[in-house]
């Protein structure tokens, strides 16, 4: 006792020293000064006026800064935390200046925002720095005058929780959909011309905020775009066509249009000097063609019939335009070719992905593509070569056999043909005697399968010596049916049901034969926020379009604050008239609108009748309204909608029509060399010439798990059979299992020695089946321990496992009639940190001088640490796990080890309860089936009969 007291004092002293050291070390005199220098805010060039770039001189490495925090506001007195830029304090920041691009829609207010306005940590009184913008509707309303706000509302909240709200502006009778903060994420984007204020604060590795930089300001402005990154042209002599393809610059979201000009009378260098000057350049230009650019998402290629009077040496430039201005590219001289140089016209089809929840499609434009990826020499004479290949295909494309024909360079007859009927992505070839394999090989790949045969489809590659890899590697080229295609890209475009414009999805290489398209189910509805409403001192305030309105709150009006968005949503597309119909999500408002439209049409018509001369503008208005009103009586979806009674049913029907429509797309594939040689696939249309719109299907049954289902049923049937047999009293034989027979002795030993036992369930949770198996073993061990009155300590790794084990052990004590000896403090939670757990278990083992240790469950690296310690205290150890990597350590350090399945069998073995024994028997008989099938399957596949193998799932 004396000794331990002294030790205690010693350690307390040590703890005190550590604390002292910590506090001394934290009193660094340099704190609180390191202001970021030379903070600047500038407009981001060539954007559409919603971005600023903030830059500053980073502090020296010795300041040990871990992050720079950026604060932004619309008033110099109030800046909100916007974002932090992390820095590694050991290395510091390498450059002279740090840049932060603040542009586009960024975080504004969401559910994680603070509840009320909070000043930033460690600030002096009067500091302008605040934490994130709080969930305060009045503040949001005020800020909305300087930002564009976008609300992303949870889908179900949008339709079910929208509150019909009216503006405080008496002149505005519109019903808005109002949402509280809890239903939406608000995003904000800066507005052109508005002044924003910034400050930056450095934070060091000890979380100390340095002083903020003096507030600086800046305003974003829209700019003309950057010039195109590249323009390529091709003359197609035989078809008298000019083809262009171009690359957009980095910032492209705001590019609206392109125009291609012929530039004559000036050379390329001189053009560079005049192209940015509208007066000087106009003399050289002749417009050829133009089109929309859609923010760089639309096709970046075009073909025009060759205009007259264009010299063969003509040069061209592309002009990219946005609202503010335009930019010309450098000159490009077209290549002189003919249409035989064009890639093969792509053909493609769109297919639903099988066995999914209905959010994926495949766009497929080719047969499966096979190619060699690498080779490895297997011996020193280089006489055997392992060849690895890759097979790109969709789940629905079946390939039965692959054939690889290897030919020596300079010869035509293959020296070997490999038939891959089992595609394991590699095979071995023998290099012909006397041939220096460094000269390389040609590989010709063909296949047999569904829709593809060996004659119509071949792929070829060359294997060449690679000095750096010291092996034969495939060349970059790939010949498809004799044509080199490695430079060809397969570009996939798609368009929605309402838009005629195809938007680019992805550029794919020639090694891809399909594209997986994700068409997610909508989970949010996004809308620009029109304004904000809040109630203050009994008055309703609405901030909208830069105006502030106020009126007394009416009786029955909600006192909550709302972000107001338009309640109109697109409802359905009428293909016949090409009209997109929208509806209000509030049923009564929608019905009112229908009535209003009809009335307005009548008034307008009478106006036209009265008018003396025809007014084309009014007529167009009438025509548009007339089509729409007509649809109220002719469009099936609308007719059905207008029959609906009740708000819930209304929104449900709207989503039922609108969401599937928004997920339908028409696809297009284009093959291009990216330099102007492109070929579009034929439009994907049905027999009547109408476009096919594809959408993924939600599957009710996973066909790839059909065999699994049968296997589960067979297994279940076996279990039921044997459980019934066992219940009827049939004796079921189980062979002795060494480790399990020893459990009794091990418990007995602990009792004799008067020392406790340790039962360790491993570090698995309930999702690890080994833990579940261990639970059924501990049931038996606990009973024995209770019977012999031996203390059993169970330190738990998982806190959900803890109550279960407590329950099991308590029950064990009750069942043997010793409830008094149950001590719940013997079964405790330790920690779910792997090595902290081991440290503690080792400590317990040594101090309690364990007589017996059980390690049954899921283990990883910590296993050996515990069993070795157990050995040093001389405990008998019984271990068991299904984790293959730990079994060797158990075998070498424990007295008995249950390997893999033995662990699962243990519960039934020990318990001898007929139901459990029945399942064990079922398990055994299922094993016989497996062994039988594996033997038969192996024999069949050795005879190249792959039927049985192919029934089984691959993954």
């Amino acid at each position: 006792m004396r000794l331990s007291n002294r030790l205690l004092k010693l350690t307390l002293l040590l703890a005190f020293a550590v604390a002292l050291g910590l506090s001394v070390a934290s009193k660094d005199p340099a704190s609180g000064r390191n202001v970021v220098e030379d903070l600047r805010v500038e407009d981001i060039p060539s954007d559409n006026g919603d971005g600023l770039v903030v830059s500053w001189k980073p502090l020296h490495r010795s300041k040990r800064i871990i992050e720079y925090r950026i604060y932004r506001g619309v008033h110099p007195d109030t800046l909100f935390f916007t974002q932090a830029v992390p820095v590694n304090p050991n290395v510091g920041f390498a450059g002279d200046r740090m840049y932060f691009y603040d542009s586009g829609f960024g975080e504004f207010i969401d559910i994680t925002s603070p509840g009320k306005l909070k000043q930033e940590k460690q600030q002096k009184p009067g500091s302008p720095l605040y934490r994130k913008i709080p969930r305060d509707m009045e503040l949001a309303a005020r800020l909305s005058e300087s930002y564009d706000i976008y609300a992303s509302v949870e889908r179900s909240a949008f339709y079910k929780r929208a509150k019909k709200v009216y503006s405080a502006n008496e002149a505005d009778s519109t019903a808005y959909a109002g949402f509280q903060f809890r239903h939406q994420n608000l995003l904000a984007s800066m507005r052109p011309g508005v002044t924003y204020y910034y400050s930056v604060v450095a934070v060091d590795e000890r979380s100390r905020f340095q002083d903020p930089a003096p507030v600086v300001s800046g305003s974003p402005f829209p700019n003309a775009p950057e010039e195109a990154a590249a323009l390529y042209g091709v003359w197609l002599d035989d078809t008298r066509e000019l083809r262009f393809e171009w690359e957009y610059p980095m910032v492209k979201d705001n590019i609206m249009q392109y125009q291609i000009h012929m530039v004559s009378g000036i050379d390329a260098d001189a053009w560079e000097n005049v192209k940015d000057n509208p007066d000087q350049r106009s003399a050289y230009l002749r417009p050829i063609t133009s089109g929309p650019a859609g923010g760089g998402a639309l096709p970046a290629y075009t073909a025009v019939p060759m205009p007259d009077g264009i010299p063969a040496n003509a040069q061209f430039a592309i002009e990219l335009m946005n609202r503010v201005g335009s930019a010309f590219s450098s000159l490009a001289a077209p290549r002189m070719l003919d249409s035989t140089h064009l890639p093969e016209k792509p053909t493609f089809y769109v297919e639903d992905k099988p066995n999914d929840k209905g959010d994926r499609l495949s766009v497929i434009w080719d047969h499966p593509i096979v190619f060699v990826t690498k080779t490895t020499s297997l011996d020193r004479n280089n006489s055997r070569l392992q060849v690895n290949y890759q097979l790109n295909k969709t789940d629905t494309q079946d390939v039965k056999n692959l054939y690889f024909e290897f030919t020596k360079m300079g010869e035509n007859k293959p020296f070997t043909t490999i038939k891959e009927y089992y595609q394991d992505m590699s095979f071995i070839i023998n290099v012909p005697k006397g041939y220096d394999y460094r000269k390389g090989f040609k590989v010709r790949i063909t296949m047999e399968g569904q829709k593809v045969d060996r004659k119509s489809y071949t792929l070829e590659q060359e294997l060449r010596w690679d000095e750096s890899m010291m092996t034969l590697m495939p060349g970059k080229e790939l010949w498809r049916n004799g044509v080199e295609v490695s430079k060809i890209q397969n570009v996939v475009f798609r368009r929605g049901i309402t838009s005629p414009m195809y938007v680019m999805m992805k550029r794919n290489t020639c090694f891809d034969n399909n594209l997986d398209v994700n068409v997610p189910y909508p989970s949010t509805v996004g809308k620009l926020v029109s304004g904000f409403s809040f109630v203050k001192d009994g008055n309703l305030h609405t901030y909208m379009n830069g105006e502030r309105h106020m009126r007394k709150l009416k009786a029955g009006e909600s006192r909550s604050g709302y972000a107001l968005v338009s309640p109109e949503v697109s409802f359905t597309y009428d293909a016949e008239t090409g009209t997109q119909l929208s509806f209000n999500i509030f049923r009564d408002e929608a019905f009112k609108q229908v009535e209003n439209d009809k009335k307005e049409l009548a008034t307008l018509k009478s106006q036209i009748a009265k008018a003396d001369s025809p007014d084309p503008q009014l007529q167009a208005q009438v025509d548009a309204l007339e089509t729409q009103v007509k649809l109220y009586d002719t469009n099936e979806n609308v007719i059905e909608a207008l029959k609906i009674k009740g708000q819930r049913a209304w929104t449900r029907f709207i989503t039922k029509i609108r969401e599937p429509e928004s997920r339908q797309h028409n696809y297009k594939v284009v093959k291009t060399d990216t330099r102007g040689l492109f070929v579009e696939a034929d439009l994907d249309v049905n027999e009547e010439g109408e476009p096919n719109f594809h959408f993924p299907i939600s599957n009710w049954f996973a066909k790839d798990k059909f065999v699994t289902l049968i296997a589960v049923i067979v297994y279940g049937a076996l279990v039921v059979t044997f459980v019934t047999l066992a219940k009827r009293g049939k004796q079921l034989y189980i062979r002795p299992i060494a480790g399990l027979d020893e459990i009794d002795n091990a418990v007995g030993r602990a009792t004799e020695m008067g020392r406790p036992m340790l039962y360790c369930m491993g570090h698995g949770g309930l999702s690890d089946v080994a833990t579940l198996a261990s639970m059924s073993i501990i049931t038996q061990v606990a009973k024995k321990a209770a019977e012999y009155d031996t203390k059993m300590i169970v330190p738990c790794y998982d806190y959900i496992v803890l109550p279960i084990v407590q329950e099991i052990v308590r029950e064990a004590h009750y069942s043997v009639g010793r409830p008094d000896t149950y001590d719940k403090n013997n079964i405790f939670y330790l920690t779910n940190s792997q090595f902290a757990y081991v440290a503690a278990v080792n400590g317990i083992m040594i101090r309690e001088k364990m007589a017996t240790n059980f390690f049954l469950g899921y283990f990883s690296a910590e296993a050996l640490l515990m069993t070795e310690t157990g050995n040093t205290v001389g405990a008998v150890q019984i271990a068991g796990t299904d984790s293959v990597t730990q079994i060797p350590f158990f075998i070498t350090t424990c007295d008995y080890t249950l390997i893999g399945e033995e662990l699962y069998a243990a519960g039934a073995y020990l318990n001898r309860e007929p139901m459990l024994l029945g399942t064990l028997k079922a398990q055994d008989y299922f094993k016989i089936i497996i062994v039988f099938l594996v033997v038969v399957g192996s024999l069949l596949s050795s005879l190249q009969v792959m039927t049985l193998l192919n029934i089984l799932p691959t993954k």
Binding site: S4, F701, Y799, I800, Y829, P888
Partner: protein, 208 residues
């Protein structure tokens, strides 16, 4: 009420989960899993750790009260736990705070050192296998030595065939053993989970 309803929850829920595997439809994938199960399971989770903390604290309190052997060290447990929790709740969990500092400079070095002790323990385990003189242990040790030596330059100096043998051991017997064991483990897993789902095994519910 005490045992039947939980058992029914397990059985009915088990069937739902079984369906979830075979029915990829959005009703199961989103309706059941994402919209029901995940939020429910997560809303339950915070209480379980409180249970864990209570359990360990009670064990240590009992130790201190009973003046069990080495009871003084239980104070260190409380000190570590309370200091870390306070540091986290008051100072925040960001890098640079006391909370992270304690984790990085106390818990991490200790855990990493514990892990590195394995190097010593492995040597002693190998020695034990050597001493055991059973045929199984010898085979095990021989395979281990071959595979280990093949990874270091020394191994290649001993014999140039060592890497080939090692690769063969890994690719052939090791693969076969793993495959056989995994198949058995798979069977055992199915049996164990099936027993729970059918209500044959219900020890986890304890007595009444």
């Amino acid at each position: 009420m005490k045992k039947t309803i939980p058992l029914m929850i397990v059985i009915c829920g088990g069937i739902l989960w079984l369906l979830w595997v075979f029915v990829p439809h959005t009703i199961m994938a989103d309706g059941f899993y994402s919209k029901f199960y995940l939020p429910w399971a997560r809303a339950m989770a915070p209480f379980a750790i409180i249970l864990g903390i209570f359990s360990l604290s009670m064990m240590h309190t009992a130790k201190i009260r009973r003046r069990a052997p080495k009871w003084q060290y239980s104070y260190f447990f409380f000190a570590g736990f309370i200091a870390t929790s306070l540091a986290g709740f008051i100072g925040g969990t960001q890098k640079g705070g006391l909370y992270m500092w304690m984790f990085e400079n106390m818990a991490m070095p200790m855990s990493a050192t514990m892990f590195s002790l394995l190097a010593f323990y492995m040597a002693s385990a190998a020695y034990k296998a050597f001493r055991a003189r059973s045929a199984e242990a010898t085979v095990l040790l021989a395979a281990a030595i071959v595979v280990m030596l093949a990874q270091v330059p020394l191994g290649v100096k001993i014999s140039k065939h060592l890497p080939t043998i090692s690769q063969w051991i890994l690719d052939v017997p090791n693969l076969a053993a793993k495959r056989g064991i995994m198949l058995g483990v798979g069977l055992g897993s199915v049996a164990t989970t099936l027993k729970i789902m059918l209500g044959i095994e219900r020890s986890y519910l304890g007595g009444d």
